[in-house]
């Protein structure tokens, strides 16, 4: 049980071409018992951040504190942390029991009996008591995953570090393990830092999400905060599946002009905006409404370009009739709404669901207003 603080942490690597900044001035506080997911695209510095906590990478500048004590410069063995690796990294020549005992033998002076009992207990907790005498090569991917988890849990560390632990599992097993991991973490209450590139894992498992891009922290917040109140266009585009639609536009008073259509904002919304004229309009696919014919002022006539059926819903790729922009707008509609391919329909962006971002640096200028009221009854 511990809290963990990143204090202005920078990590640079030396390369033939010069200095590469992997993590830049990262400030972040992970609370005691929290499940924090660090998410971002490949090369965003998320794994490097995790490895700095583990002591597998040095800290170039700044400090990482565990329960207020700096761990900079100490070896991994002195940090009281456990890590689950993407490849599981089980010792192939040892049985499951030996794999799980190794850490206790190396880092504690527990008696052999105590180690034996602890390992048996954790094995039962993970539902793998019958596997304890097998070698890793005799186990399935899912079972190896459990052993890797068990090896971390047995140590009863201050912090769990997990580096994309579910990425080698098939989709069904991954969903199962996601739930199981969440359950385990709640049961154990151990501070957990989990790295992934999968925003679904981030959304479903975490207490809070930290979104990294190019080594910089974009936002840290609860899944719903990141979803409904993204700090910037990157976070808005990264969180949510399918991704948010972005359309570049120019503002003139109340009117947003995109290459294909004009969108007129209400006076109250326009008043909240600053003086920027270059903006990016954002709307989530599930908020795009589809109507038979464009009837209202802000409706746009679109052609149905592609239909992706998902069973419970369909994703429509809509192309404005004028076709000045290359990108289509994705709309998610119920599976029972009948839409013909290549037909012409109307597309509507409800203003209460509209996001606006600065056209230059992507900073969020406006968040949707609808969510608070809509969510309130559910959250009670």
């Amino acid at each position: 049980m511990a809290n963990l603080t990143f204090d202005n942490v920078t990590k640079t690597f030396q390369d033939e071409s010069g200095e590469i900044v992997a993590v830049e001035e990262l400030d972040m506080e992970i609370r005691d018992g929290e499940f924090l997911v660090i998410v971002g695209p490949s090369g965003c510095g998320k794994t490097t951040s995790l490895r700095m906590i583990a002591g597998l990478e040095t800290i170039t500048e700044g400090d990482i504190r565990l329960d207020g004590t700096s761990i900079r410069g100490t070896g991994p063995q002195d940090r009281d942390i456990a890590m689950v690796f993407q490849s599981y990294a089980l010792y192939p020549h040892m049985t499951v029991r030996e794999n799980m005992s190794f850490g206790l033998k190396q880092s504690t002076d527990f008696s052999d009996e105590k180690i034996h009992d602890t390992v048996t207990e954790i094995g039962e907790m993970l539902g793998i008591p019958e596997l304890l005498d097998r070698k890793p090569a005799e186990l399935s991917g899912g079972q190896q995953q459990r052993v890797a988890l068990g090896r971390a849990i047995v140590r009863d560390p201050k912090v769990f570090l997990m580096d994309e632990p579910l990425s080698n599992l098939d989709a069904k097993l991954r969903a199962e393990m996601r739930t199981e991991l969440q359950r385990l973490q709640e049961e154990l209450g151990t501070t957990t830092i989990y790295v992934t590139h999968d925003q679904t894992e981030a959304m479903t498992m975490s207490d809070r999400i930290a979104i990294l891009n190019d080594g910089e922290l974009q936002q840290i917040g609860t899944p719903l905060e990141c979803y409904y109140e993204p700090n910037n266009q990157f976070v808005a585009g990264f969180i949510g599946e399918p991704s948010m639609n972005f359309i570049r536009c120019t503002r003139d008073g109340n009117v947003l002009s995109t290459p294909d259509f004009d969108y007129e904002l209400s006076q109250s919304t326009a008043d909240t905006l600053g003086s920027q004229t270059e903006l990016t309009l954002g709307i989530r696919p599930e908020d795009v409404e589809v109507v038979r014919n464009p009837a209202e002022p802000n409706d746009v006539a679109v052609e149905v370009d592609v239909i992706e059926p998902f069973g419970k819903e369909n994703n429509l790729h809509l192309a404005p009739k004028t076709r000045n922009a290359d990108d289509t707008v994705v709309a998610t509609i119920g599976a029972r709404t009948k839409v013909e391919p290549d037909s012409t329909i109307g597309m509507r962006f409800p203003e209460e669901h509209l996001y606006l971002f600065d056209g230059e640096d992507g900073t969020a200028v406006r968040h949707p207003t609808a969510e608070q009221e809509e969510l309130a009854p559910v959250l009670k």
């Binding site: 583990a54 002591g55 597998l56 070896g75 991994p76 063995q77 942390i81 456990a82 890590m83 690796f85 993407q86 490849s87 990294a89 089980l90 010792y91 192939p92 020549h93 190794f102 850490g103 190396q106 880092s107 504690t108 090896r151 140590r155």
Partner: protein, 313 residues
């Protein structure tokens, strides 16, 4: 009929072409079999000639061609007895030198490879280059410095001052044997390091990191993780080093200075002694050559499977 023709044109096959192909395959097959057999016989003929000569009496190997089997009444095992009597003490010397040197060079090579591959420190590239360069040092080039070195380092004197020669099993020749063990161990470290390094580079880094996080220090990681995983590579290195050291001639010749087993001469020197002299006793020499080869054959048979496992990585 048209359909059949269509199918044949698509698959490019007809009754005739199938027959042709079958014939072609079997003709190729026959040629291959004949060639393989001839090549096999060609390579086996010296071996056969050797075995057959080793069982012949003196008059038989003078009067018959080497490949002919021993004539009736002239079969003898006397050459094997003579060869064994000459070589036996030298064989023990060889094993006393080879087995420890093989183990030392493999263990030291493995430790060096671990330090040069899996532990990060300054200057390891330079040191690795030195190891690689040592592999290419020609033996002849270091003969002189080697013998000068052992003239300066008086192993005999060191053992004496330690009181070794008062022990009941101690023998004068042990100093020479120890000299050869140390020389072969040292000479073998570089190639062993290279072999182990190649293997260690294939071991997942995350395994080492997992061990570090589990609280193992550098030594514990080697002892508990790397060493057990090196088992197949140890088999490769053992076979390789056994053959190298057991068959070695030049260092033994320089450092022993004679072919007398009681001075510590290994079997290669004793075999050379058996082959010299005015009258050529081919039967004794052939029997001696086979006796000399037996330990390496045993090693290959015993560890061949693990060897194959080790070179598979």
């Amino acid at each position: 009929m048209q359909l059949l023709a269509l199918v044949q044109s698509i698959t490019g096959e007809s009754d005739e072409s199938l027959a042709d192909r079958f014939e072609g395959v079997s003709r190729k097959h026959i040629i291959a079999t004949v060639l393989t057999t001839l090549t096999g016989l060609f390579y086996l003929s010296p071996l056969w000639g050797g075995i057959s000569t080793a069982f012949k009496t003196k008059s038989a190997f003078i009067n018959t061609v080497p490949l002919a089997p021993p004539p009736a009444g002239e079969i003898t095992i006397q050459p094997w007895v003579v060869a064994w009597q000459t070589l036996e003490p030298a064989l023990w010397n060889s094993l006393i030198i080879t087995i420890p040197a093989m183990i030392f060079s493999a263990v030291l090579g493995s430790i060096a490879a671990y330090g040069l591959t899996m532990v990060d420190w300054r200057g390891q590239v330079a040191l690795m280059s030195a190891f690689i360069a040592a592999i290419f040092l020609p033996k002849q080039g270091i003969l002189l410095p080697l013998s000068r070195f052992w003239n300066t380092v008086n192993i005999q004197g060191i053992l004496e001052s330690l009181g070794y020669f008062t022990l009941p099993f101690a023998h004068e020749s042990h100093a020479t044997l120890l000299t050869l063990i140390i020389t072969h161990s040292a000479y073998g470290i570089s190639i062993c390091t290279l072999l182990f390094r190649g293997y260690y580079l294939t071991i997942d880094d995350e395994l080492i990191e997992a061990a570090r996080i589990d609280g193992a220090d550098m030594y514990a990681t080697y002892w508990h993780i790397i060493l057990p995983l090196s088992y197949p590579m140890f088999m490769v290195v053992f076979i390789f080093q056994f053959t190298q050291i057991y068959n070695e001639f030049l260092y033994a010749l320089i450092l022993v200075g004679g072919s007398d087993p009681s001075n510590g001469a290994p079997i290669t020197l004793a075999l050379a002694e058996l082959n010299s002299g005015f009258s050529q006793n081919w039967n004794n020499q052939m029997a001696g050559a086979f006796i000399t080869a037996i330990p390496t054959i045993i090693v290959y048979v015993l560890f061949g499977e693990q060897f194959a496992e080790g070179v598979k990585y």
